[in-house]
């Protein structure tokens, strides 16, 4: 029972709360500023760009240099999954949900084929 809440657990809980407060900063600031500033200011455009660029850095890293189970899938399989997903997106008139499921399904299929020794 003494290790019910190890220090790593507490650290993670504190981290999740602190990251939530950091995220709320923008939401609260947005509420406060709404109706006071115009939407087309360079500062706001810069802030939006930071967000996009960081998300892009995160997604690129998760696809190219993943942690966890994705690391076990060969880079080639991950690239094929992305390519099929992208192809499906344009063939299916931009139905993102269906395209994501097709791309992820492709990766699962490749993994099964490899496990069976067919690839």
């Amino acid at each position: 029972m003494d290790s019910l809440l190890g220090s790593r657990d507490l650290w993670l809980f504190a981290l999740i709360v602190a990251a939530g407060l950091g995220s709320y900063l923008w939401r609260g600031l947005g509420v406060w500023l709404s109706g006071r500033v115009t939407l087309d200011s360079p500062v706001l455009r810069w802030v939006t760009c930071v967000s996009y660029a960081m998300l892009a850095a995160l997604v690129a890293r998760m696809l190219m240099m993943p942690e966890g189970p994705l690391a076990a899938a060969p880079l080639l399989d991950r690239v094929i999954g992305c390519a099929i997903g992208l192809g499906a997106l344009f063939l299916l008139k931009r139905n993102t949900l269906a395209a994501v499921l097709i791309g992820a399904g492709t990766l699962a299929l490749l993994s099964v084929l490899r496990a069976q020794g067919w690839l």
Partner: protein
């Protein structure tokens, strides 16, 4: 019409709240379920506990920030580095919150009015925002706040349950399906970038962010996202402004009054 609206003549807040609540269980709920099942599975694989995974859905309430937290803690990154990364990756909430809250009229009022506005701010995230921006112009002023509370609560509620389902599924499913689940979110954002992002500046920001993030990661894992984000972005921002490319402007509310 994917979203439920209260009858226009209704003055009952409860009716408007319930219409919002039901709206979150339709198509928006489906997208959230897929996304948070993927996050739940990823969180387990990267070593978060079930309560931690579900709590992050409430506090951070946006998959990109939650993925960044799960990834970076697995890399044993510094506490401060993770908080800064999650905070910056969520910076897009600021320009999203502005036009949405302009629909709610004046902030004047007592403590209760302020508390309900700032409380509502916590719900702002992509799916909630897209649906709300679509519905707000269709509702009279008095129905807007209760509708948003209903919609936000069902969006978060559905997502908390989906996080738990994904977490449980991660151990029960065969390896191939688990792989598909953790692949869902990164692939989703890749596709969103490919399909939806407009404007030379934003596209440059994405390419530069990805390139710099990848290049810096092996040497400086704690801060590679920030390097990709801030350096890549500033570079891209200058390009965007220089080219005079007008980004697609965020939609201004067409009517602030009913």
């Amino acid at each position: 019409m994917t979203y439920h609206l209260p009858p226009p003549a209704s003055t009952s807040s409860l009716v408007a709240w319930r219409a919002g609540l039901i709206s979150g269980l339709g198509a928006p709920g489906l997208a959230l379920i897929a996304s948070f099942i993927g996050f739940g599975a990823l969180a387990r694989e990267l070593g978060l506990s079930l309560p931690q995974s579900m709590l992050s859905t409430v506090t951070i309430w946006a998959v990109p920030g939650q993925m960044a937290l799960a990834e970076m803690q697995a890399l044993e990154a510094d506490f401060f580095a993770i908080v800064v990364a999650v905070t910056l990756i969520n910076a897009r909430f600021l320009p999203m919150t502005l036009p949405l809250f302009a629909y709610l009229g004046s902030h004047r009022g007592g403590i209760a009015r302020k508390a309900s506005l700032y409380g509502l701010g916590q719900f702002v995230a992509l799916t909630f925002w897209t649906g709300s921006m679509r519905v707000m112009p269709l509702l009279p002023m008095a129905q807007r706040m209760p509708w948003l509370y209903g919609f936000g609560l069902s969006c978060i509620g559905v997502s908390i349950v989906a996080t738990g389902v994904g977490y449980a599924a991660a151990s029960a499913l065969p390896v191939a399906l688990k792989l598909a689940l953790v692949f869902l979110n990164p692939l989703f954002f890749l596709l969103v970038f490919s399909a939806d992002v407009k404007g030379a500046g934003n596209i440059a920001a994405i390419l530069a962010g990805a390139a710099i993030g990848l290049a810096v990661h092996p040497f400086w894992p704690d801060w590679s996202l920030m390097a990709g984000g801030v350096v890549g972005d500033s570079f891209a921002f200058v390009i965007g402004e220089k080219m005079g490319a007008r980004r697609s402007k965020p939609a201004e509310p067409d009517s602030r009054e009913p």
